[in-house]
């Protein structure tokens, strides 16, 4: 695996204690992560946990109501939204969809469509595509513009299992070939793309974060997924220090219950458990930031 991360590279996007509220309710709060060139960050979490909100905040579609988001100046984003319905009155072929937000050369269009395996559908109207074909067309559109940051909101929805493996392999290739950063939102709470560098688990805030465990070594998973899938998928084991109760309140490991849960509430463990299992020198950059949390907590207390 190539390692694009180095201390000199500026992150493409950096979220710092970012929160978004609507009608007095926090959709998501206290989000901290950054994406560097070549890095794959996967957001996971239950429905309504603020995954899409977080992604939209990262790329500037939503403005944070708290904290801040920094983007590299002139950052070029390729975005695959979670839901996209094209009105049937709009005559839009796959080919025309490709140049929706910017001009492209014919060869760039063909390459991107071929890469996602939908070149044969170039002349089809997007309304006639199946869910999986449309996802591939949308992914082709996003990669064709050669973005610095690719944001994929549940890119494998409506795609069958082997298609999912193929798309993850493609995303990995895109990263390795172009060195772009990738923010991936996964619909699955436990199975993520093996190439993911950082998993951020959200439920209104960052519940936990870490690196996924490769499953290709485990014979059980190989049996379960098949050999090819086992190389592509990885398992993420959560280490939460709190539980979300059905009524929305939060039970912390120290037995206390709070209305909300965010890093500054003083109920969280220090970083070793909250974060992943590698050390200070892993270069992922989380540790320094979490020390920042700790300081903030002390200051607040």
């Amino acid at each position: 695996m190539l390692n694009f991360r180095s201390p000199e590279t500026l992150p493409l996007v950096n979220l710092s204690n970012a929160g978004v509220s609507r009608n007095g309710r926090w959709l998501v709060r206290g989000v901290e992560f950054s994406i560097s060139p070549g890095e794959i960050v996967t957001l996971i979490g239950p429905n309504g946990s603020g995954k899409s909100t977080t992604a939209k905040t990262a790329i500037g579609v939503l403005k944070p109501d708290e904290g801040y988001v920094e983007r590299k100046p002139g950052l070029k984003v390729g975005y695959v939204p979670q839901k996209l319905a094209v009105d049937w009155t709009l005559p839009l072929t796959v080919e025309r969809l490709m140049t929706l937000t910017g001009p492209l050369r014919g060869r760039e269009i063909e390459e991107a469509l071929a890469a996602t395996g939908v070149l044969h559908l170039a002349k089809s109207e997007v309304q006639h595509l199946s869910g999986g074909e449309f996802q591939r067309a949308l992914l082709a559109r996003a990669i064709a513009r050669k973005p610095d940051l690719l944001v994929l909101d549940e890119p494998v929805q409506g795609v069958d299992f082997s298609g999912e493996i193929a798309l993850y392999e493609l995303i990995k290739q895109i990263r390795n070939r172009t060195g772009c950063g990738i923010l991936l939102i996964s619909h699955d709470l436990h199975i993520v793309m093996a190439e993911t560098d950082t998993v951020v688990c959200l439920n209104g805030h960052v519940c936990c974060r870490g690196t996924p465990q490769a499953v290709s070594q485990s014979p059980e998973y190989q049996r379960l997924f098949g050999r090819r899938a086992a190389n592509t998928l990885a398992v993420y084991s959560h280490h939460h220090d709190h539980t979300h109760l059905p009524d929305g309140r939060v039970l912390h490991a120290d037995g206390s219950i709070t209305e909300h849960c965010f890093p500054g509430d003083g109920h969280h463990h220090d970083d070793q458990q909250n974060v992943h299992d590698h050390g200070e020198d892993c270069g992922c950059g989380h540790h320094t930031r979490l020390h920042g949390y700790e300081q903030k907590e002390k200051r607040d207390a």
């Binding site: 579609v61 975005y79 709009l90 005559p91 072929t93 929706l100 937000t101």
Partner: protein
Amino acid sequence: MLDDFFVRALIAGVGIAVMAGPLGCFVIWRRMAYFGDTMAHSALLGVALSLLLELNLMLSVFIVAAVVSVLLLFLQRRGALSTDALLGILSHSALSFGLVIVAFMTWVRIDLVGFLFGDILAVTESDIDIIWGGGILVVFAIVYLWRPLLASTVNPELAEAEGLQPERARLFFMLLMALVIAIAMKIVGILLITSLLIIPAATARRFSTSPEVMAVLASVIGALAVTGGLFGSLHWDTPSGPSIVVAAVGLFALSLLPIGRRPIEAAHHSTPGGHH
């Protein structure tokens, strides 16, 4: 020989159809037909205010339509009522306020039917200048705004994420709508402006392979409808607006006929030995 007034109406009508084509496509792609109606109905309030304050007619209609669309945006943001309820309130209140104000001005004699349904006799030479000047402006603006408008029609968040400023495009789009309504009012009439936006675009859909083709075709079909409608209006002495709409609907009905719809099947029938 055709009369001068008729030639003026024809030139003016074709100008309106040309700019209404691409704009109308966006109206149906964005499902804003009722929104267009609301802006058009507010034009009568514009007419009343122009008489009351002795302002230029087109200018005051444009301003009122633009204000109504901004008001709608503001009310939508408050989110207390659904958009269609808000549109219903704005649409009918603007129309009613206009009619009430006109009724109060007993000193003004106003051809209400002419304003509501269009009047081909009303087109002056300076109107033609304004229509074609405004039309060229509208077409240039649409060409300039095409990419952000189209991208934000497909998905505003996608457009925003990829740097296309959908909010700005939307604002300009509303101003263009207000402009077209102000310009088209005399020919088509307040109550029927939206149909000149929607019906040619809907007719063009079947024959279009891309958004750009549909926009151009909508202009062409609109121009045909205007021409046909104005001739009908002259011949049967009917109000010009409804006559144009009837012609447009006729073209739309033709587009529904299954002529040339299935080239694959047609090819199959023409294979050698296929005739019995």
